[in-house]
């Protein structure tokens, strides 16, 4: 049933184009035939439970991890054959907090990083350092997770890369800094055309930023679509049903959730609204409510469908 969810985007220029990426760690399958498609300029939210393969997918793009099968391209460049050129165009915030040299001071590390990226903007870096309240004289190794995360964000953003790969960018940050980070990202997007792929557990935070979503589960890409598509097709239907209701034969779409109570059934369905309402009404029920879902609710439904 869930195979009816869209997993391929319509044609368009892709910043990230992976085809059938398969990766094993020992006998564990981390990624299974993943075809990730991120249009240029998109803000793509990659969701999935821990261990779903989100971080691994990002690492394949950086050639930190090599897939056994499949190809990956970033801006048309093969991530393996032309890895240095690909990496020159990526700003990466990793999941791990120990990134950079632990013995180096923050200010020195930013200098070090700047030399590797000729497009580094020192004024922007200084503004970010101020915004994130970075202590330039502290050694990287003694920073807390949140403080380190803010340094990583500065490192990733200051050279204005065409592609940002953000793996849990607000992890470890207090609520104020989390909010500030979202503002920084919005500002960054307004200033420079950027494609963003981000994974986060705080889905509600990116409600306003994300315009594409990809759902990873157990190494498989269950669904991939634009927010417009999601908004147009995913609905929750609340139907009042009479006693002894016989149910509805088949709905024109993919049923993700179905919750039944006496006299009321709630469906979360991906499919054409008009036809579904017709089917539901036709079966004897009264459709009380048809609503689109918030991003977080949509994510939960896509991640954990039940019949």
């Amino acid at each position: 049933m869930t195979s009816c969810l869209p997993t391929r985007l319509r044609d368009g220029e892709l910043a990230v184009d992976t085809r059938g990426i398969t990766k094993r760690f020992g006998d564990q399958v981390a990624l299974n035939d993943v075809t990730l498609q991120v249009p240029t300029g998109a803000v793509y939210l990659l969701v999935g439970p821990n261990g779903a393969g989100k971080s691994t997918t990002l690492k394949v793009l950086l050639d930190l991890v090599r897939a056994e099968k499949g190809t990956a391209e970033v801006f048309g460049l093969d991530t393996r054959e032309r890895a240095p050129e690909v990496r020159a165009n990526i700003g990466y915030v990793p999941e791990r907090p120990d990134w950079g040299y632990g013995w180096m001071r923050v200010g020195r590390l930013l200098e070090h990083h700047a030399l590797y990226y000729p497009t580094w903007d020192p004024n922007y870096a200084a503004r970010l350092a101020q915004k994130f309240e970075l202590r330039l004289d502290r050694k990287m190794g003694v920073l807390s997770k949140g403080q380190a995360r803010r340094v990583h964000l500065t490192m990733a953003l200051a050279h204005r890369p065409p592609l940002l790969l953000l793996d849990e960018p607000t992890d470890g940050l207090d609520p104020f800094m989390r909010d500030e980070t979202l503002g920084v990202i919005a500002d960054h997007l307004a200033e420079s055309p950027t494609t963003v792929v981000l994974s986060t557990h705080h889905v509600e935070e990116v409600e306003g930023l994300a315009d594409h979503i990809g759902v990873l589960r157990n190494g498989e890409l269950r669904a991939q679509m634009s927010r417009d598509d999601l908004n147009a097709n995913l609905r929750r239907y609340r139907v009042e049903v009479p006693d002894g209701w016989s149910g509805v034969a088949a709905l024109n779409g993919t049923v993700l959730r179905r919750v039944a109570a006496p006299r009321e059934v709630q469906w979360t369905v991906w499919g054409p609204e008009a036809e579904i309402v017709q089917k539901l009404s036709g079966s004897g029920g009264t459709v009380r409510e048809v609503v689109p879902l918030s991003l977080i609710d949509a994510t939960l439904a896509l991640l954990n469908p039940n019949d």
């Binding site: 300029g41 803000v43 909010d179 979202l182 503002g183 919005a186 500002d187 997007l189 307004a190 200033e191 509600e204 935070e205 409600e207 306003g208 930023l209 994300a210 315009d211 927010r227 417009d228 908004n231 609340r238 009042e240 009380r288 409510e289 609503v291 689109p292 879902l293 918030s294």
Partner: protein
């Protein structure tokens, strides 16, 4: 003019922004020929994709509520005297109310009666 988004609102964000601007126009917090925040400023303030704000501004322009001054920004259109926006707002409120009513199994007439009764009661309490 203050624009804020309701996290519970599941409509597309650009539609929410359009509604917020409409509300500001009707309430007068956005004066005719008054400036709207730049796309960038609003995107940062709302923590929203700048493309979404652009989309909202384009829609506002299409509906005639705002106009763009080359190189200077977006401004509210000069006085709307025909009450179009008021009616649109009212329509929006009605839509939400009816949706809520339907959800609770209430009919249109029941809703209208309840509104009238409640309003009468409130007026009575205020005059006391």
């Amino acid at each position: 003019m203050l624009i804020s988004l309701d996290p519970q609102d599941t409509r597309p964000i650009y539609i929410q922004i359009v509604d917020e601007v409409r509300r500001a126009l009707v309430l007068g917090t956005l004066a005719p020929d008054g400036p709207l925040p730049s796309v960038r400023d609003l995107a940062v303030k709302l923590r929203v994709n700048p493309n979404t704000v652009s989309q909202a501004y384009r829609e506002l322009e299409r509906q005639g509520m705002v106009y763009v001054r080359r190189g200077q920004g977006t401004y509210a259109s000069p006085g709307q005297t025909d009450g179009t926006e008021r009616r649109t707002l009212a329509e929006g409120v009605a839509q939400r109310a009816l949706h809520d009513a339907r959800r609770n199994g209430l009919g249109v007439d029941e809703l209208i009666d309840a509104i009238r009764n409640y309003n009468r009661q409130r007026k009575h309490e205020e005059s006391l």
